[in-house]
Amino acid sequence: MRLERHLAVLRANLRLSFLLAMQYRWEFLLDGAMSLLWTAAAIVPLYLVFEERPRIAGWTYGEALLVMGWFTLLDGLLKGAINPSLVTVIEQIRTGTLDFVLLKPADAQFLVSTARFKPWRLLALGASIAIFVYAFSLLGTGPTWGGVAQALAMLAAGIVVLYSVWILVISVAFRAVRIDNLRYLFEAVFEAGRWPSTVFKGVLSFVFTFVIPLALMTTYPAEALLGTLPWERFAAAWAGALVFAAVARGVWLRSIGSYTSASS
């Protein structure tokens, strides 16, 4: 019953977002073209680097492209499905209209996280598949079914973490209203996910594995596709993702509990 209602809400929100997107068809075309351009621009440095060296930090060009493929996919998800909603909620906190959302008879976290989608950004999915095909044609092999399954499961964990980080960002916005550009900061840090995590040494390596687990989001799925991700690391990553999600949910509940609205 509850689940059904939430699904109906999700359907309605998706429909609304699609209708809004259809209204701005030019923006759609430009968005699509831009995201292709960005993907290409992102591959250029990688290409140039591997022109000079066959192997960097233990990765060949084809293997590093797999990481880039997952990055492209997650980046599209971030900007198409997660980001728009969160921009909306931060705006609602600032203007006080979040009250109307909180009054609705559904879970508030669910409502704010499905408020808005940018369907065109999901074109990144196509771009990432193109990258995978290109990468595997360079490697001269294909992924195994087991590898694909493991990679998709790893990707799901990555999405859980990504989403949790975002929930934490909103929770900060409840307290410090003028911090709406935090999302740009996260987007900037997220950029580091385009390189295999072995590139980072020392402190950065620790940060990108445990604090902001970018390794889990892009490098592990790539390793899974290659069949080199050990199952114990897979399990540990999933456990970490669940802890992350639980913490985010807890912080969210606390923040929303102490929220006193901007309008009053």
């Binding site: 923006e27 430009l30 968005d31 831009m34 351009l37 960005w38 621009a41 250029v44 440095p45 140039l48 680097v49 022109e51 000079e52 060296r53 960097i56 930090a57 410090a176 003028r178 911090i179 550009n181 935090l182 740009y184 900061l185 987007e187 900037a188 840090v189 950029e191 580091a192 390189w195 072995t198 590139v199 980072f200 040494k201 950065l204």
Partner: protein
């Protein structure tokens, strides 16, 4: 003449407003950490042997200098203008007896003291981790540095104002900014030093404005240029400043004739 008299006041306003939003300001600055994220990749590349004359130390010097240069010359005028055209706030600026470009210029320039204060720690770290062999040694080169940095700022500023002026025709020109930024990312030396570009691509950046906004000041500071080369590049840079300046003023004056104020 009247414009000149108001400039100090405009600077003061810009400086105070930057100071008022210092937390937000700091987050904005941290979003341009991409050069520092690129650094570990290049370190991994140069681990065994220097690449195109770039050792690890030289890469460090390059990207730290890049970070600092970016902090000093960054611009966002097109966003402001887009917003003001759409919200109608531009009308108020037009009522004042000074060309609106002056407002945008002073707003951007007045934030430089604060930006320098934030960028200073990066400069100290850079000096600690690299040795001075990666810096220019000729006093004539150092004399050119302020001029080159100001030129870099001016190119970015005029481009932003010109793109902002397009919003007088196009309703919104944020997408054009994105295209400009994509060009910047690839051809300015922001992610990949131009010296590392493959041979067939190496000369084309010299014919675009992007290198003069970023790569050129860095090369100047890190001592990659001879006095003669530097003088030539400085000349080219200021040619771009002139061209873009003329285009910008022309676009504004034509666009304003079409502008029919929204709201009030």
């Amino acid at each position: 003449m009247r414009t000149l008299r108001t400039l100090p006041a405009l600077f003061k306003v810009g400086f105070v407003s930057a100071l008022a939003y210092r937390a937000e300001f700091l987050v904005w600055m941290l979003t341009s950490t991409l050069p520092l994220i690129m650094l570990p990749l290049w370190h991994a590349v140069a681990e065994q042997a220097p690449l195109a004359g770039f050792s690890q130390g030289r890469f460090t010097a390059y990207f730290f200098t890049g970070f600092i240069v970016r902090q000093l010359v960054g611009n966002w005028a097109s966003w402001t203008i887009n917003y003001e055209v759409r919200s109608g706030a531009l009308s108020q600026r037009l009522l004042r007896p000074i060309h609106p470009i002056w407002f945008y210029a002073t707003e951007s320039l007045a934030s430089i003291p604060l930006r320098s204060a934030f960028a200073f720690p990066a400069a100290v770290i850079a000096l600690l981790v690299t040795d001075t062999s990666n810096l220019a040694h000729d006093a004539r080169l150092w004399a050119m540095v302020p001029v080159a940095i100001f030129g870099a700022w001016a190119i970015g500023f005029f481009a932003h104002v010109a793109i902002g002026a397009l919003s007088l025709w196009m309703h919104q020109s944020i997408k054009v900014v994105e295209i400009w930024s994509a060009g910047f990312f690839v051809f300015s030396g922001y992610l990949v030093p131009i010296a590392v570009f493959p041979r067939w691509l190496q000369s084309s950046p010299h014919w675009m404005p992007f290198e003069y906004m970023h790569g050129f000041p860095i090369d100047l500071i890190t001592g990659a240029l001879s006095v003669e080369q530097a003088t030539r590049s400085l000349g080219a840079q200021w040619c771009w400043v002139g061209i873009l300046g003329l285009v910008t003023v022309a676009l504004w004056d034509r666009g304003l004739r079409r502008y029919g104020a929204f709201g009030g």
